[in-house]
């Protein structure tokens, strides 16, 4: 056996390095975009016979935003259109015998699975186009109530079984009604929750809404944390402001830190921040939603520095954002001269759309 060594010329080496660089760039580029979830556009649901409990046809239409390989389409019917909310099936609705009778645009789908409120379409993964797509299902039974709207939650996947990362998503709401078909896109909604601990999607909270921080002492920093989560489909995003006085006992007040300042025992200090800290060891960075879009206000985003100003914006999202969770850390320090008393405060977090 003979080994043959080929000496690479500088040109070959450069070409090889360039190819590797391009490959790496392409990999990074594609992985970055794979992480983006955007909305289907021009979504609609046409109900051929809108009467309650009618056996009818549904045509779901939309445009794919992300032009990539799509292998499956998930259609989930729920009372609530918000994709992160738990899905309660619309009473009476039944798509378990639905037949895919027509499809345009991104086509070649067949039904992979059906339940009363869930259809998964599958196909050999292929690149979708920007042309509007529509899918007509025969043999669908309408919800039996005209009192509540219902929604079709849509999402597409590269896999053929609606597993793995979502590419695009979007919801359509509709309502069974006597004689009039309603179709609409989801209106702007703002989701917000606050508690000691909140679920990333605001579906549950725990730990209550107040906490005893303990005994004030010049030798100890009192600490507490709370959480809040917010998200919106409004195009201008949201802002969270904080309101309330510093900690007071009668007419005596522990001074709030009006600019970011490290915690220092033996001084009168009250402050918060929304970032993971090491001194003291508390808090957590924002998590759960669109971390690339949401922004913690600069003064509240400095580890180990705390501040508090009534009315400050503490976090915001300038665009549409999935529900993002923020952890707020509170510190209180007391000077030896602090007058004894029970120091308390009520902090109001206010979440609003932007204009």
């Amino acid at each position: 056996m003979q080994r043959v060594w080929v000496r690479a010329t500088p040109v070959k080496l450069a070409m090889g390095q360039l190819a590797l660089l391009l490959l790496a760039s392409f990999t990074i580029f594609t992985s970055v975009f794979a992480a983006d979830v955007v909305r289907f556009y021009n979504r609609s649901l046409f109900v051929y016979d809108p009467n309650p409990s009618a056996v009818t046809k549904y045509t779901i239409s939309f445009g794919y935003h992300t032009i990539t390989n799509v292998g499956s389409l998930d259609i989930l019917f729920c009372n609530d259109p918000i994709p992160t909310d738990p899905c309660d099936a619309p009473p009476g609705l039944d798509v378990s015998h639905a037949v895919l009778s027509d499809q345009t645009g991104g086509n070649d789908y067949t039904i992979l699975s059906r339940t009363a409120n869930h259809i998964v379409l599958t196909r050999n993964p292929d690149v979708v186009t920007t042309d509007p797509s529509s899918y007509t299902f025969d043999n669908v039974v309408n919800p039996n109530s005209t009192a509540h709207s219902f929604a079709a939650r849509l999402s597409d996947y590269a896999s053929t079984n609606a597993a793995g990362p979502i590419i695009d998503l979007g919801s359509i709401t509709s309502q069974a009604t006597a004689g009039v078909a309603l179709e609409t896109q989801v209106p702007p909604i703002l989701v917000f929750c606050v508690a000691h601990i909140v679920d990333p999607n605001c579906n549950g909270t725990s730990g209550g809404n107040y906490t005893d921080m303990g005994q004030l002492s010049e030798d100890e920093t009192l600490m507490a944390t709370s959480q809040m989560a917010a998200g919106t489909n409004a195009s201008l995003g949201y802002a969270i402001t904080v309101h309330g006085l510093s900690m007071t006992a009668g007419s005596h007040e522990i001074d709030a830190l009006t600019s970011p300042t490290p915690s220092a025992m033996g001084n009168n200090q009250f402050g918060i921040n929304l970032v993971a800290n090491t001194e003291p060891d508390m808090g957590h960075d924002k998590d759960g939603g669109d971390s690339a879009i949401t922004v913690v206000a600069p003064n509240y985003d400095i580890p180990n520095s705390f501040t508090y100003n009534d009315g400050d914006v503490v976090a915001e999202a300038p665009h549409v954002s999935l529900v993002e969770r923020y952890t707020v850390s509170y510190i209180v320090n007391a000077a030896p001269s602090l007058r004894p008393g029970v120091y308390t405060t009520t902090i109001t977090y206010l979440c609003t759309g932007r204009f």
């Binding site: 975009f33 809404n209 009520t346 759309g353």
Partner: protein, 359 residues
């Protein structure tokens, strides 16, 4: 027996005191809600509109008790974040809708449930044309106790335009390249950028009228040779400049969406990316207009021009090296010339002549 009962009573009292003084958490009450973030109306003087507010309790385990009321707001610096006045006895702003609005004071929503409530706005007959705005605050009934009590509140911004002859007036305060690490949420103008290419163009307009405005238009960016680098449609999201506000409007020179489209794909990601500027001087030209045609207003235009330099350090270094090389070349050339004319003499008016050998 009486003494025994007395001991028992005392023991129970002590136990009660101990239990009541032990730090505890509040019984869980929901503070998780979803609401409509914004409502827009055009209402004629003397007209009443009735609309619905949809509120959901996202917590599937606890009841949500909300207190509702109208509050006033204004702007917070140059951003689109509102600044609220939460005081119960706050004086109304000149643009307040508080006294024109009727809505329920409280709402109770079962765990995981939703409610739709009616509210109405009545505009007085004698109210002049312009914009009016306030906000509906939904305050989750808080708990009292502990050192730090939390309250969660959601807000619906309500904007009303009243048709008629309103005062519309905006002026350009600032225009230039803009550096921001968070897609325009915070940042600063830049005139000579040496670190990285500016990714945004920003302008600030002051609203001196009595209506909120949403300007629209274009920004063109040209290089030193007059070539078009970018043509940007501004304020595509219809952001508002409130009454009295100097509002900052930022736009990406190039978005990720545009980069993906150039590659044949589609994306809605509007994150600013590196626009690929070459070092040099750039000219920004702004053309925007604003009007409330629906109120019977005229179209108003604003234009402006600004410049910025993009001079990265590597470019400055290259220029300095080139200058150094040129300086060295000139020095070297002069030296060569001197060497060449060594042994010659130069006299004004006679040119160079060879010296006569001695002897």
């Amino acid at each position: 027996m009486k003494r025994f009962l007395g001991y028992i009573g005392a023991a129970l009292s002590v136990l009660l005191v101990i239990v009541s003084s032990t730090p505890t958490f509040a019984a869980d009450a929901s503070s998780a809600l979803s609401i409509n973030p914004r409502k827009n109306y055009t209402i004629k003087p003397g007209q009443t509109i009735t609309d619905k507010l949809h509120i959901s309790n996202l917590d599937h385990a606890s009841i949500l008790n909300l207190n509702l009321r109208m509050i006033d707001f204004t702007f917070m610096n140059e951003s689109g974040s509102p600044k609220f006045n939460l005081a119960q006895d706050a004086s109304p702003t000149p643009w307040s809708l508080r006294s024109f609005t009727k809505l329920p004071k409280t709402v109770e929503i079962p765990a995981g449930g939703s409610k739709t409530i009616d509210y109405s706005i009545t505009i007085p007959k004698n109210l002049g044309a312009g914009s009016y705005y306030s906000a509906i605050i939904y305050q989750a009934a808080g708990t009292n106790g502990g050192n730090v009590a939390l309250n969660a509140s959601g807000v619906t911004l309500v904007f009303v335009n009243i048709p008629g002859k309103a005062k519309e007036s905006m002026s350009l305060q600032k225009l230039g390249a803009y550096n921001s690490d968070d897609n325009g949420t915070t940042g600063s103008y830049v005139y000579i950028d040496t670190n990285e290419q500016p990714k945004m163009i920003a302008f600030a307009l002051k609203n001196e009228g009595n209506v909120f405005e949403s300007p629209a238009g274009q920004i063109t960016l040209k290089d030193i040779f007059g070539h078009m680098v970018s043509n940007i449609t501004v304020n595509t999201k219809q952001q508002l400049a409130l009454i009295g506000q100097t509002r900052l409007f930022t736009s990406c020179i190039k978005t990720k969406q545009q980069a993906v489209q150039a590659l044949g794909g589609a994306s809605k990601d509007e994150t600013c990316i590196n626009p690929g500027l070459a070092p040099g001087l750039y000219k920004i030209h702004l053309d925007v207009h604003y009007s409330h045609n629906e109120l019977g207003g005229e179209d108003h235009a604003i234009s402006g021009t600004a410049y910025f330099w993009y001079l990265p350090w590597w470019f400055i270094a290259v220029v300095l090296i080139l200058l150094a090389l040129i300086a060295y070349g000139v020095w070297w050339l002069r030296r060569k010339i001197k060497t060449a004319i060594k042994g010659t003499s130069y006299k004004a008016g006679r040119g160079i002549s060879r010296r006569k050998p001695r002897g």
